[in-house]
């Protein structure tokens, strides 16, 4: 993978992982997917598996890119960046919905 693309890829994998995790949280599931029902247990399980897979892939990509020391550091920080981006997305997606219900 070209060096320029690998960081966005790592970040994207972290983003996907946290997006999946966010959907397993009942509040966000109700806001984003189905306001009547909590997420089904099988879906939660699948989402968690997907998140774990994405995180592992991101870690391996980061270590492959930069070696163990820098790779792990980059992975930890990219995790945070991904989680922040997901929460920004959740905020952005929920705001108009809330506005309508008021």
């Amino acid at each position: 993978m070209p060096d320029v693309l690998s960081f966005p890829a790592i970040f994207g994998l972290c983003y996907i992982a946290f997006a999946a995790l966010a959907l397993t949280v009942e509040r966000h599931w109700r806001d984003l997917v189905d306001s009547r029902r909590p997420p089904p247990r099988r879906t939660v399980l699948r989402l968690r598996c997907a998140a774990a897979l994405s995180l592992t892939a991101a870690l391996s990509a980061a270590v492959h890119r930069d070696g163990a020391g820098f790779g792990i550091l980059l992975w930890v920080l990219a995790l945070t960046a991904g989680a922040l981006a997901v929460s920004a997305t959740v905020t952005w997606r929920c705001r108009p919905a809330r506005g309508r219900t008021r």
Binding site: A22, R27, G69, L73, T80, A83, L84, S87
Partner: protein, 524 residues
Amino acid sequence: MTAGKRKLISPALRAAMLWPHTWAGVTLGGLLMLVFFMGSLAVFASEIDRWMMPDTRIGAVETPEAAISLDRTVVPLVERLAAGRVVRDWFVQLPDERRPVMALRVRTESGTAGGMATADGALLPPVGTLGASSFFYPLHYSLHLRAGFVGYWIVSFASVAMLAGLISGVIIHARIFKDFFTFRNWGQLRRSLLDLHNLTGVLVLPFHLMITFTGIVIILPIVLPAGVQALYGGDIQRFYDDALGNYSRPRAGIPAAAAPLDPMVAEARRLWGSGEAAVIFVYNAGDAASVVRINRDTGDRISLDVQPVFFDGVTGALLKYQPPGPMVAAHRVMSGLHFAAFEHWPLRWLYFLFGLTGCVLIGTGMLHWMEKRRVVHGRPGVGWRSVAALTCGTTTGLLIATLAMMAANRLLPSGVPSRELVEVGVFFLTWIASAVHAALRTRLDPPWSSQCAAVALLAAACVLLNWITTGEHPVRAAAAGDWAVVGVDAVLALTAAGAWSVSRRLARRMRPEASTLSRLTDHA
């Protein structure tokens, strides 16, 4: 997992943690804001230096790959800087990717002299500024209070409070996993502030814990000298010599001719196996007890271990090269994690961004306290107003002071006597002025709107002034590959745009708003 946590963290414990968390934040928040903000700037100290010292960037973008000859290029420069006086010690920082010029410092029998020179040995005119690396960065770790390490002690104390604040915050905020991604930026302001406080506190917790802890670790032997007292009789120099493999010896007083330096660099590179020399020190120059120290460049690794190699300055013989033991090596890795001296652009940006989220964390904490107090107590009293003014002075006020110094850097003519001190004066006077302004104008709220407008105007002025005084606008800089200028200008422009929109929105609403935080996120 959550059930176990609930048992582990009792409501009583949570209640007990609230008091220290709140009051550590309210009393030390302003100081921590300064430390986090200046630390974030320090990540890009070299780039801000290039912006503030145009002479060191123009025409010097590409570094020659061939190693610089110390004997042919650097030694004559040292003699020119000494200007006939007897040289005692000197050092040179060789050019690197982020600083295309070399920096020299010479201590003579009467005073010191410093300067910057291009890689081919042409001495540049005095830069006339301390820049980010000698002003913002020391402000971050020592507050420029050098005497008796007072600044170190204050910053370390605040940092331990920050660590305690992070831990107690996690204990207080038990619904971590439920609220993991939640930021309700609509509705009640107080809840939005708390959401953002929790969000940054939880999501960026690994970075904040790491950066605060490693920050203290760097100066640990100074602020917790218990072990040095016990085993080294309190002699910190002897401890550092022992731990870091340093070497020193007194002047002999007998003049002696110096050995050539280039073979020593070659030998040091052979000892390291890989890597380049970054800094070369010559102690006791021209003396029989002369010592040459060569530091390795740490850009390719996390550890800050500079692997110093010491040579006899007269014979050129190897004096000392001692790799550290495992614990000291771990200490150097932790220090390196904090310094971020490595060549890694994604990491550098992430450090900058997360440093600013530290500011958001602290700022929202203080704003939340202010809002809560306002609700509970109604009419604001003196205590509330002081905290409000302090918050304003350390967020927008700090930004105004920083930007004013950068604007002054572009405006002051190069002939002004002790120009660098004038710049520092501008920084502190503007800061005091904005704090006084905040204190005077705080009635129901600090003057967020007008201070944000000032930030916007100053940031925009900085971009324009850089263009006018150096002729280098962002487009031309980008075309020339001068990414330091592009980056600084871009962040300045973003700051201006963000601060302006916040200021307009505040002026329209004329009511309290999460101004600092949205501005700071925009800033990032």
